[in-house]
């Protein structure tokens, strides 16, 4: 167990330690109870009662432990990753403030900054003024940080999900450009005299590699990730990057929006916040023995085709899987 957990540690020692504490906490909290997973789901415009949810795995029904819906508590973790054009950032901040202020009183919003590494700007609170002030005062500076921080932020979300009976969502608002990361994903030309270099004919390789690694890790997490990208870019590397962000969010059951104009920014933020607010967190009990890669089927009482949309696949983390 000890060795495995060390192998699975991903980033700095700090993260390892935190994850270790989290896992131990999970174990302690889970003693005597069957393992469960939380699946984000959407039911369209209809109002659905908890008892209406059905779950199955490979045709075998699963017990739905709990369902938290739009009227329940929501912990929204907002990570701002803003390093670029002030002309885009300020409207995004204003739109975000407007949307946060519209959140129901049972929704708490916590604020993180992602550029140059993850940092807490303000703790989750229902005090909208404090959150708004945090958003307003966040400087536009540093290097893009979404790829470096999203795993850590999602782990925080998962820890909260495991500890408290609330819905949790992670929202990144970013204007990141793949060229603006500290780590090199662009593979710049080093020897300009080398005219026969074909290794850069497919320059997306490094971005895809990073995205694939992250996707593998986020597949084992249960906090849905939402991304609003403020500045859609059409160059090949950024296309690969933006496609990768879309993959990451969809892996967790979340979604992403890419703004192509100023008008798109408030609209996208509004849409994503609405989506977050509308989500159900369906807690499903897993059988004692199960595969690591799960395709859990959700449905509503009344049958198929009733507009239910949910995260289709989930991978149990190595630890959770072993626990099974």
């Amino acid at each position: 167990m000890k060795d495995r957990s060390r192998k699975d540690a991903k980033t700095p020692r700090d993260v390892k330690k935190a994850v270790g504490v989290y896992l131990v906490g999970l174990c302690l909290a889970g003693i005597g109870s069957a393992a469960s997973v939380k699946i984000p789901a959407w039911a369209g415009d209809q109002t659905v009662a908890a008892k209406d949810f059905r779950a199955s795995l490979d045709g075998a029904p699963l017990r739905v432990l709990s369902v938290r819906g739009p009227k329940d508590d929501l912990m929204l973790l907002v990570a701002l990753d803003l390093t670029g054009d002030l002309a885009l950032v300020e409207p995004a901040k204003e739109a975000l403030i407007a949307e946060v202020e519209k959140l129901p009183a049972r929704s708490y919003a916590g604020l993180l900054r992602a550029q140059d590494g993850l940092a807490v700007v303000s703790d989750p609170t229902a005090d909208r003024a404090a959150t708004s002030e945090g958003i307003r005062s966040l400087p536009v500076s540093g290097k893009a940080g979404l790829l470096d921080t999203v795993e850590g932020a999602a782990r925080i979300g998962d820890a909260i999900l495991a500890k408290a009976a609330v819905r949790v969502a992670l929202l990144y608002v970013t204007d990141s450009d793949i060229h603006n990361y500290r780590e090199d994903f662009t593979n710049p030309v080093i020897n300009s005299s080398d005219s026969h270099d074909l290794s850069r004919r497919f320059p997306e390789g490094l971005v895809q590699d990073k995205i694939t690694k992250l996707e593998g890790r986020l597949a084992g997490m249960q906090t849905p990730l939402f991304i609003v990208h403020l500045a859609y870019r059409g160059d090949r590397l950024n296309e690969a990057y933006q496609n990768g962000l879309k993959r990451l969010s969809e892996t967790t059951g979340g979604s992403s929006a890419f703004c192509r104009s100023m008008a798109d920014i408030p609209a996208s933020i509004h849409t994503v916040l609405e989506t977050i607010q509308a989500h159900y967190s369906v807690s499903v009990e897993l059988p004692k023995k199960t595969r690591r890669a799960l395709q859990i089927h959700l449905s509503l009482a009344g049958g198929e085709g009733n507009g239910l949309h949910y995260r289709p696949r989930l991978t149990l983390s190595e630890q959770a899987f072993r626990k099974e």
Binding site: V21, A87, K143, R201, A219, A263, R291, L314
Partner: protein, 917 residues
Amino acid sequence: MAASLAAAWAQQRPAARMSEMERAVEEFKIQTRNLGIRPDSPRRNGNGGPAGTWHGRVFEYFRNDFLDAVPHEIRQRGGDKSLLRRNQFGFNVAGPVVIPRLFHGGRNTYFSLSYEGVRERISRTYLRTIPTQLERTGDYSEIVDSAGQPLAIFDPASTRVNPAFDPTQPVSIDNLQYVRSEFPGRQIPKSRLDPVAQAALALYPQPNAAVGPFFRNNYFINSPETNRANGMIGKLDHTLAERQRLTLELAFSDGFLGSAHWFPTRANPGPSDRDFETRRGSLEHVLTASPQTVNTATFGVSSSLSRNAIEGSSEPGAAFPVYQLSPYLSMGRAWPVSKSAHHSYAWTNALSHKRGKHGLRFVAQYVRSQVNAYWPQYPSGSYRFSSGLTSLPGIINTGHPFSSFLLGMAEYAESSIVPRPSYFRRSSRHIGFRDHYDARKGVSLSYGFSLDNGTPRVEKYDRQSTVDLQAINPVNGRKGALVAAARNGQGRTFQPSLWRLSPHASLAWNPMGSAKSVVRASYGRSYSAIPVYSAQWGTQGFIGYPTVLSPNVQLAPAVLLARGMPAPARTLPDLRPEAANDTVADLIDSSERLPTYQSASLTLERELPGSLLVSIGAAYSGGKNLLVSNSAANPNAIPLDALQFRDKLNDEEFNRSLRPYPQYKGFDVYSSYPFGRYQRDAAFLRVEKRASKGLSFSAYYEFGKQWDDYSGPYGKQDYYRRELEWALTPGQDPHRLQFSYVYELPLGVNKPFLAVSDWRRYLVEGWSVSGTAILQSGNPIYLRPQFNNTGGVVQALNVNVVPGVDPAVGDPGPSLWFNPAAFDQPPDFTVGNASRSHPSLRNPGNQNWDMTLNKRIALAPDRTLELSAAGFNFINHADWTDPDNLIGPRSAPNVNAGKIIGSRGGRVIQLGLRFSF
């Protein structure tokens, strides 16, 4: 561990009395504290060490000819190998800066270091024409013209005035001004062969191919070159007190390009071996004064050095002389030994400020550029040979340049005397302003301007000169005399220092408030400065171009090879006003014209269901005063109405008397004369599908047309009536389709199929396929008459159009791509009536399909091994070469006109291995 458990347990207990949301907040605090990302977190010193926090990769890309298809151009010549040995390797490592026990950069100080090396041997191929073995001995009995008829070679020593010549009638085969005798038996006597030419021929290779037609395309070059390179890029990024950031970047690259040998001798006309060195450094400081104000200051330095050298010597004088034998491959090379170094220093400050609905940006920049150049073009001399001296004077399709070479009779000779390098300097200033105005919901406007100033080029020691077109030449009293910088009242430069204001504006509008649709419009106008080039152009008098001209290219040589170039009459520097007389003199344009560009575009973007994004648009761009070279600008050109003087124009003295500046043979404006115009109109459609079920792709189609009055491989027919030169631009394919795709195969954990998590996942997971393809229609065909009998008045003659004959053929193919009967050689001393490029005929199109298959193997969560196999032109498609564009006269048509003699291209495979951690 036990302490942590206890702490975690202790933190859990009070939570039992909390509400669920309070419990969630408390957990947030615990987690973020443990991560050390809270303001009140204990300070972390990164005692975890670098191993767990550094990322990077090690890679190798491998290519070898045993993996590749034999290129079509080689297979067609009977070859079965194209040598290729290539290894490209390197690493990248990045992470926090760590000095054990002393310093841990944590999130504040970060570095990245990349290295890449290349070792390569690769073949170059060319198909050229060289003289036959018989021809080298002076035997022309088997030599034919492009129609397959015996080529007549005349003895210049037998030239005599034709007493029956009627000066009121044009020179023709029936009315010759001069008569000559053919060499008996079409054989130049051995005693007449020039010994210098014969010695040079010992260094000329033998024909090794017979592509034809006749004796043409008989030398196939398949020669390897050796290349190597080593380079590094290092970056250091440091955050100071959250609001300030410093980034230092340093890079270097050393490269060697060992050029392929066209000949295995010192007469090799191929390029020289080259060494490269580049150095670059920049320091950037970003100050976030407030959430609404960011200032970025950058200082950058860059340096590049390029050295040409001939094998075994760095002395220019050791180079083989240049013998220009067109249509045959020449001997010797220009710039055999040269060196140039470019340095630039740039300081930039950009201030961004958001105020209400306005996003303001101010930019100031100062750039200083230096070029140090040692650039002798012909240190051992250059000799040009033409058919005139072995022709029947005034009659085309007689004589041959190579026979003139055998006789040692050059029509033009020049050498370069460059005693020292030149040290050029210039600077530029830029002030820019932009306001991004969020006018109202759904409408944003961006507008601004830039104010640019470029100082003209100076030379560190004032060793610059030009022809002043207003100064009086003491030799003939005409305008045009050499002037030198900082002498006789002349300033240090020859051009004015100019300020130019460039406006730009763009609009983004969401029609009917729909964020899914965006209409974009933009307009911009800009100017570009005249750059500092690498050559030592504009220093005549400090360096010398001794030039010898033929008094009549049909009657008398400029020099005899056996005698060589005459010694210069004066030593350098020679700054007399008449010092540039009788040369192609350097001319620096001193007007206030600067290259000016305008562009406008309109685009509609629409997001569709299914993650589809469609953009459709149109764009216009145009420019004037574009910098052109000698083929497109000649202020000393003879107006075309002088063609009425016909054969008299062959007399050099008479010919020059018609030039605006008769004391000069011509002007060398290098590539710096602001005289070109262009316009491009294009419409495009782009479809992009964002990643969905592992697949993403984009496709782009463009239809465009570009015209200009200057470009092309041959030059202009009429320098004075530019409107007649307005024609389609070469190299511009009207249709271009490009698409690319990435498909992550849906296999493995968290994918729809084969979601196995045991050992089989190593086989199943991580497969992806990426590809790109480009398909282009052909670019406009340039037709060229085979002969140019205009007495040197026209440099680039157009063909004539034959009325009523369709230039297109029903099923264009290699045997006939266009109908050459639709064109004709213009009669002597007339210009062609066709445009420079044909308005409807196109060269064959080309296509390229690249694909890579990647397999990622996750060795650990942070460690992957990636194997890749990339196929470039993986379908092994052959692109046809361009058709023969030479149009001969009706009397001796080029039998190969309109035909395609081969194809090129071949599949290349590259294997890659990358370990990332």
